[in-house]
Amino acid sequence: MDKNTEIAKREDRNLEKTRELYEVAPAVDIYENDDEILLYADMPGVVKEEVSVNIDNGRLSLSGVRKLETGGAASWEEFGNVEFVRNFSVPQTIDVEKVKAELKSGVLALHMPKSEAAKPRQIEIKTA
């Protein structure tokens, strides 16, 4: 009787999943001007395909999974595969249709334009 197969079978039967990807919150910068809210998040090692940005009912969720290619035996490791996760509350005035996200050298840039109605308007005073 092969003991290895026995162990593998027990593992399958376990209900709880014990290996999860480590979650960290990425450091972010948030800027705002009259037209949009701009968010930068540091996600080194994350590729475009592994990023998801969700805006739903005033809640913005960012997620990016880092899968690093490793080579050889590790002498030391200070960073590994993680999932970058962070949630924000965003104003309802964000024009969800026009949200743009770019990923460049491990930095996610998220442009969230405000809807026309929410933009500040200069009121011209007419002389009577």
């Binding site: 999860e20 001007n33 996600m43 491990g106």
Partner: protein, 146 residues
């Protein structure tokens, strides 16, 4: 007796899960936890892998281009320094700035000498990949028994 080993393995797995949940508590309160590309003492995060005739190194360098990085090698001494400048957009109000800026430098003493002429460096998705071939003298050699 030894088939029960998987149960012990599972026990440790559960302990890992508990520790991870506790670590993630700060993430749940939306504070960044251990996510900065610079460690507390201003070091870059680095991984070192070793194969028979080369070292492989990975460093976290988010948002930096190749001109911002400086790599020096001499023998088994490796020094990586650089600077990150924030692209603060014009005319924006600042709400939050957590991403660190500034200069950094980290030096390593590698376990063996490196052939500095054949070192390759590649920058991809905010991670610096270094391939450092060991020098001829440090390479493993096959010994034939006469």
């Amino acid at each position: 007796m030894f088939t029960r080993f998987s149960d012990i393995d599972r026990l440790f797995g559960t302990m890992d899960l508990l520790r991870q949940r506790l670590d993630n508590m700060s993430t749940d309160y939306n504070r960044p936890y251990r996510s900065s590309w610079l460690m507390e003492d201003g070091f870059l995060r680095a991984n070192l892998y070793q194969s028979g005739d080369a070292f492989e190194m990975r460093l976290e360098v988010p948002g930096m281009d190749k001109d911002a990085l400086d790599i020096k090698i001499q023998g088994n001494y490796l020094e990586i320094s650089g600077k990150r400048e924030q692209d603060v957009p014009d005319g924006y109000k600042v709400h939050k700035t957590e991403r660190l800026n500034g200069t950094f430098s980290r030096s390593f003493t590698l376990p063996d000498d490196v052939d500095s002429a054949r070192v390759e460096a590649k920058l991809k998705d905010g991670v610096l990949y270094l391939t450092l071939p060991k020098s001829e003298a440090a390479k493993p050699r096959q010994i034939t028994i006469s």
